[in-house]
């Protein structure tokens, strides 16, 4: 009986997704039209389009093989399966065990692969252009997507979308910087994947600027209908994944009883999670009446849970921000490594100093060490403003501002930089296992910055860029000095001020 119920719920999810996807596309079009001060088509226009396309004859291009004919159905099926795995309307679905984020990405990836194949199959030039552009965009978007999935999985402890949604909804995650960054990245990836405006334009009529549309130019009739429906499904899928991971608090998905039964059948882990969830629930709403089956939630315990939650949250947040700033410094180092024009390099150097100053100021605030603000101010003033200005003047007076420095292969340098970051993490993290986490992260990141600075000094010939490398190296040492709490002021100041 329970299994049948679960099957029903799962089926309802699949049908709902399929039915609602064109509506969502219509909504997006409507909003877009309104923003452009047009009236726009009606919300159900996509349904009408689909109906019209389904009724039309499918015209095949000359030389189209079976691949061309099969592809629309494959794309539709694969996308539908992927959409069915996302807990759009309910968590704990029957098939949610297979709803792994990586599996979903792989499904969408195979849909894209089929589409590119079909576009090349007919042998028109636009098909080829579209396919190559699509694959290039995908090669940038997919690694980013995997990074996001991994960083979310690190927090939730799983790549199962259902588990992640559960975790996000019912446990004290708190403010997480990595999640915020992940959200931004995810939105960018979603824009790229759904052929939206900065990357592609679904409504374009100019073949030269098309990406996705160029690939489906030759499709018509029911084939086109399948592809359109798959595109709508994909859009809905991305939006609901964003909802599942990032906005689950606002949405509070239904927890199906059937899901619970299935979950308990799978083992004790879920059951334990449920007990924890109940605890969390009453921790969040202490005044509300306890759930009937709620365990021994006495007031003292509730208060303790609240306190614990808040503590974890605050510590997590402080740690996250310092982690982000330190990571930002490493990123800025890579940006410096990448620049081959002197002015751009100097700008990035200033940015580097700004990130450092922000990081030091943050440390000052979480360590309650007001003297660190002085260090931050010095770093900001000297390294962020005065030195870059002086360097710009120097570059201008030497007349080398138009020169492009010959760097020994930027790609190679960047690879070496990545290797150095890996090296410093591998050296530092095991060694500092006992240090407190903030200092630990800072030291490891600082070593990366130091090593990248050294690399930069080694690979550049120009004196100005050597100075830039050296200053970034010093910024790294400064980061380490502030991360190690309680260093005497004199040391910190003499690091912060350019020697």
């Amino acid at each position: 009986m329970a299994v049948i119920q679960a099957l029903l719920v799962q089926g309802a999810q699949m049908v709902l997704v399929l039915l609602l996807a064109p509506l969502f596309t219509g909504l997006v079009r409507k909003v877009k039209a309104r923003v452009q001060r047009r009236r726009g088509p009606s919300l159900i226009q996509p349904y009408r389009d689909l109906k019209r396309l389904l009724g039309k004859e499918a015209v095949l291009a000359e030389g189209a093989s079976w691949l061309f004919r099969v592809t629309p159905y494959v794309i539709f099926a694969v996308t539908w399966v992927a959409a069915a795995l996302v807990p759009t309307f309910a968590t704990g679905l029957l098939f949610s065990w297979s709803g792994d984020l990586i599996a979903i990405i792989a499904l969408l990836g195979s849909a894209r692969f089929m589409q590119a194949l079909a576009a090349m199959d007919i042998g028109t030039s636009f098909g080829g252009i579209g396919a190559s552009r699509e694959v290039m965009i995908a090669s940038l978007a997919e690694p980013a997507m995997l990074m996001i999935v991994l960083s979310v999985a690190l927090i939730a402890g799983s790549t199962q979308l259902s588990t992640i949604a559960d975790y996000m909804a019912f446990s004290a995650v708190g403010l997480r910087v990595s999640l915020a960054l992940g959200l931004v990245a995810f939105v960018v990836v979603a824009l790229a994947e759904n052929a939206r405006i900065p990357v592609d334009n679904p409504a374009t009529h100019l073949e030269l600027t098309m990406v996705h549309e160029a690939m489906v130019l030759e499709y018509s009739g029911r084939h086109l209908a399948m592809i359109e429906l798959a595109a709508s499904l994909k859009l809905l899928l991305y939006v609901s994944v964003i909802g599942c991971i990032f906005f689950v608090r606002l949405r509070q998905p239904l927890r199906r009883g059937a899901g619970r039964v299935a979950g308990e059948a799978r083992g004790g882990r879920r059951a334990a999670g449920r007990v924890r969830d109940v605890d969390r629930q009453d921790a969040r709403v202490p005044r509300a009446e306890l759930p009937g089956g709620g365990a021994d939630a006495g007031p003292a315990r509730r208060a303790a849970a609240v306190r614990l939650g808040r503590h974890v949250m605050m510590h997590g947040f402080a740690f996250d921000v310092s982690h982000m700033l330190a990571g930002g410094l490493v990123l800025a180092s890579f940006a410096m490594l990448y620049q081959d024009r002197l002015y751009a390099l100097i700008n990035v150097l200033a940015l580097h100093a700004f990130v450092l100053a922000a990081s030091v100021a943050w440390q000052a605030s979480i360590q309650h060490a007001p003297h660190l603000y002085i260090t931050a101010a010095i770093a900001l003033g000297f390294k962020g403003i005065v030195i870059p200005m002086a360097l710009r003047r120097m570059v201008f007076r030497l007349g080398i501002h138009r020169e492009i420095e010959t760097v020994v292969g930027i790609g190679l340098t960047m690879l070496a930089g990545i290797g150095l970051v890996a090296l410093s993490l591998m050296v530092m993290l095991p060694v500092t296992a006992q240090a407190d986490p903030v200092a630990r992260e800072d030291i490891a990141m600082a070593l990366s910055v130091v090593l990248i600075g050294l690399l930069m000094m080694v690979t550049r010939r120009n004196a100005v860029s050597q100075v830039a490398g050296f200053l970034s190296l010093e910024n790294g040492v400064n980061l380490a000095a502030t991360g190690a709490q309680g260093m005497p002021l004199v040391v910190e100041i003499s690091v912060a001020s350019p020697s």
Partner: protein, 453 residues
């Protein structure tokens, strides 16, 4: 009080000298201040001050401090005659001299502070101060080569010092769980007493950074590139101070951290690392000696070689090894500064630093020529001189522990012996070349003061 005097005399002198325009008076004040510092350092022998939270005098650094003060004094005496000649030839202007004197005392202050500091952070700051002051002094001639040398020195020295700071921070991190937060976890004496409780893995990583960082300042082989340039292009008194003192200060810092590491049973033994770096420096510098054309550059490589020997000796450790290292370092400082004094005069007399343009010194300037010969004989380790004693001690003590490495050591010693004498013979004997007139100012009076030590 006395240790404060050692610090305050150079600091006050630097402030006074920065304001004085008269270079003759400045030179005298420079000498007087250095002499007073020497007296204060001597007083340390009689009355050793108690250890404070920031300053420390113990058996190890008292040797360094005395040596520092003594060579500071002899160099100030030498520079008085040297700069007069530089003024006449127009290489320096009185304005630069004012700067020069102030910087000289500031540098002595930095080095004394580094030696006296009882705090790893303070010591680092002091070494950095000494580095920066010598950077501007190396570039004081404002020629293209001098600026380039100063630049190279600045960049490499700063990178080294930055790595050393990273190491210092790591030591602090290792100490913090045991000693608590704040400046207490950076005090040498406190660190030494509880070193065995520190996290050994962290100490290991820290020592690698310190070895690379301070090793750059010592001039050990893979990181030595700044040293020959800085020695060759700066004023000769600065070359003498660089070789005789600054290298020692960096070595002293390294030794302190080595002691810290040795006090922790779980940490790696620092000895083999130091032995390896020392041997590399020694053999590398010995080969490089054969290809030098600039006389000051040649002696700069000789400094690398001797630093290699000293580091090797401290790496061998044990009572004999440590004593040999200390003796070697002292003798090298004394002899090398004396050699630089006479080389400075030779360069002034001949108007060039190119070895091929200098010949027959013993016939044209007998005192200078024979003085140089004596100096070189001392530095290569000929019997009556101190370097012979220390090298003999080192070879005999290390042979018992590391016979193979000792063979390499002796090979390096012989190589450098051959190279230096090969060049010396060309310079001191043969048909005189270049100007034959007397030196414009009385020479050698001061350079002899330290030769026979």
């Amino acid at each position: 009080m006395i240790e404060l005097a050692i610090l305050l005399i150079p600091l006050v002198a630097a402030a006074v000298l920065a304001m004085l325009a008269n270079y003759r008076l400045s030179a005298r004040i420079n000498m007087a201040a250095s002499f007073l510092t020497l007296l204060a350092a001597l007083a340390l022998l009689v009355d050793r001050p108690a250890t404070g939270p920031y300053l420390l005098v113990d058996d190890l650094n008292i040797v360094f401090i005395l040596l520092n003060a003594f060579i500071g004094f002899t160099t100030s005496a030498f520079s008085a005659s040297y700069i007069a000649h530089e003024l006449e030839t127009g290489r320096l202007t009185p304005n630069y001299l004012r700067f020069y004197h102030a910087m000289f005392q500031l540098m002595l202050f930095g080095m004394n502070l580094a030696l006296l500091a009882n705090n790893i952070g303070l010591m680092w700051v002091a070494v950095e101060l000494a580095t920066l002051t010598t950077v501007v002094m190396v570039g004081i001639y404002r020629t293209h080569e001098a600026i380039e040398a100063a630049w190279k020195y600045f960049i490499l020295g700063s990178v080294g010092i930055a790595l050393a700071l990273f190491g210092t921070i790591l030591v602090y991190l290792a100490a913090r769980p045991v000693m608590g937060e704040g400046a207490d976890a950076m005090v040498w004496t406190a660190l030494m007493t509880r070193a065995r409780e520190f996290d050994p893995a962290l100490l290991n990583v820290a020592f690698i950074f310190l070895l690379l960082g301070y090793g750059t300042k010592v001039g050990l082989a893979p990181m030595h590139a700044w040293l020959p340039d800085a020695h060759a292009e700066g004023p000769t008194p600065i070359s003498a101070v660089l070789s005789g003192l600054l290298l020692n200060v960096a070595l002293y810092a390294l030794l302190r951290f080595k002691m810290l590491l040795a006090a922790n049973p779980g940490a790696i033994a620092p000895g083999p690392l130091m032995i390896a770096l020392g041997l590399i420096s020694l053999i590398f510098a010995s080969f490089m000696l054969y290809r030098r054309r600039d006389i000051k550059r040649m002696f700069a490589y000789s400094s690398i070689e001797h630093m290699g020997i000293t580091v090797f000796a401290f790496g061998i450790a044990g009572p004999l090894g440590n004593f040999a290292g200390l003796l070697q370092m002292t003798m090298h400082s004394l002899t090398k500064s004396a050699i630089f004094f006479s080389v400075g005069h030779v360069a002034q007399v001949k108007g060039t630093q190119r070895i091929s343009d200098i010949a027959g010194l013993t016939t044209t300037h007998p005192l200078l020529g024979w003085g140089l010969i004596a100096g070189v004989a001392a530095i290569v380790g000929m019997p009556p001189f101190g370097v012979f004693m220390s090298e003999f001690l080192l070879v005999s003590s290390s042979f018992a522990q590391q016979p193979v490495l000792t063979v390499l050591l002796v090979l390096g010693l012989l190589l450098s012996f051959g190279a230096l004498f090969l060049r010396l013979i060309g310079v001191a004997f043969g048909e005189p070349r270049g100007p034959v007139g007397p030196v414009t100012r009385p020479t050698c009076r001061c350079s002899r003061t330290s030769r026979w030590c």
